[in-house]
Assembly symmetry: C2
Homo-oligomer: 280 residues x 2
């Protein structure tokens, strides 16, 4: 099990999983990746809530949140880790038609990301991906196991590039390969709608909630690429990375002052960049 | 390994596979399902050729066809079987970005489909699926492991329904859940283009080649659903099923005489329905 600190299949330690499962053969499952920090899973309840909602959305009956919480609790002794939780439709028969709505549970404990990320304070260089995301409203927002678009969009980045922003077939930016997208214009916080494609991350929801609580005007909606270039600040966010501002998108550079991004980073308090931020 | 007669991972017998593989986590692989009949793999060369082409199309370096042929040859002693061959990008690290272009090989021997299929002669009742296929030209035609649309489209079929026909977002029919689609109108054989979505099956290519060899005019192109209703004959085809005519699409019934379908069934000579057909 190179690369993982622990693997549990339906609660039991394993190194391998059944070869006939519907996760491998069809991507018939959903997942979340969560951050374990100082023995505590960041935003655990929101993560488990979204995991079971995503499972239900593709017709998989999720296990109880109590059981998932218990299995997560059993690995918090690792202290710090990136933990991936998968719910995969059970069954080993050949053929697309699901014979079951029962979920198998796969929990993988990976080493944690670096404790402090320079990306959070210095910003990243992102590119516009040549991959256009397909429109599938039945799967939009769901973190399912069909992720070939993200694989294709993660290839061939020039040196120094840390993310790629993907758009949809209407010419509007949607998300990064492993993060959600926000931008700020005239004090208003914007993020794309995810009703046609993209993944609705838990950190995206948390950022929106924190912004609203702070009295920041938020707008969810699709806008053209030009809106990203006209933005005062742009950032991407995710459960493992927290908030990474964009220093540049392709050849377009953003200002080094990022008051709204910094304010939201402080509010989010993500462990990988909290040390960079002044106390609130 | 319930449901399988044999499983080989990179040539070695196994019951399980690594839990961290990119097939499960991202669907980062391709496959074919082939029919073993009387110890011989039907259309083996065409199947292997398409398998390696599909792998290359998503940036996976395929193994040599000689090796694949050898590993298939090692299971022909089962006599009759449905054999699934997967090429999955190797690597166990977390993250979408591929670190390798090497392929792991998974070969699964399943029990064969029924030796003779009434569907081939009596025809099937198909429905129009409520699932609209997403447009992704980068993946169109490729038999990759992201198959959630097929899973969603295989659910909730009314009693007696044997296939569902999926369309794209332009309102044109594309394929069935596990088969390609053809129709006949005024003696011309039509099949949808697969440059935006859908899987290009080997049996589809064989049917087109057989039709052309028989002097039948063929047209590959997208047409509205009304073309299916106006057709004289409609059929679906696949490597395991051969050719199944449509008896009905939703409430629309087709004529019982299907001269072109029967001619192509005879030319294809698929083992599951060859016994129904008069000698050529």
């Amino acid at each position: 099990m190179s690369g993982a600190l622990a693997i549990r299949w339906n609660g039991a330690p394993v190194a391998q999983i059944p070869a006939l499962g519907r996760g491998l053969h069809y991507g018939d499952g959903v997942f979340r990746t969560v951050l374990l920090h100082e023995g505590r899973v960041i935003a655990m309840e929101a993560q488990l809530d979204k995991l079971v909602a995503d499972a239900a959305a593709i017709g998989i009956r999720p296990p109880s949140i109590d059981l998932l919480r218990e299995e997560l609790g059993a690995v918090t002794s690792f202290g710090a880790a990136a933990i991936k939780l998968l719910l995969v439709r059970a069954g080993e028969q050949r053929g697309y038609k699901p014979a079951s709505d029962v979920a198998d549970r796969l929990l993988i404990v990976y080493p944690p990301p670096p404790a402090a990320s320079a990306h959070a304070i210095e910003g990243i260089h992102a590119i516009r991906s040549p991959v256009t995301m397909a429109t599938q409203p039945l799967l939009a927002g769901i973190k399912h196991l069909n992720r070939l678009e993200q694989v294709l969009a993660s290839r061939d980045w020039p040196e120094g590039v840390a993310e790629a922003i993907l758009g949809d077939d209407r010419g509007t930016p949607v998300c990064a390969t492993r993060a959600n997208l926000f931008w700020v214009r005239h004090g208003v916080l914007h993020t794309p709608a995810l009703d046609r494609c993209g993944i609705a991350g838990v950190t995206r929801s948390r950022v929106l909630a924190l912004a609203e609580a702070a009295g920041i005007e938020c707008r969810i909606g699709s806008q053209p690429w030009s809106a990203l270039l006209a933005a005062d600040e742009v950032f991407v966010c995710g459960s493992l990375i927290g908030i990474w501002p964009l220093r540049a998108l392709d050849a377009h550079c953003y200002q080094a002052q990022r008051p709204m991004t910094r304010r939201l980073q402080a509010a989010l308090g993500h462990p990988t960049h909290v040390h960079y931020l002044s106390p609130r």
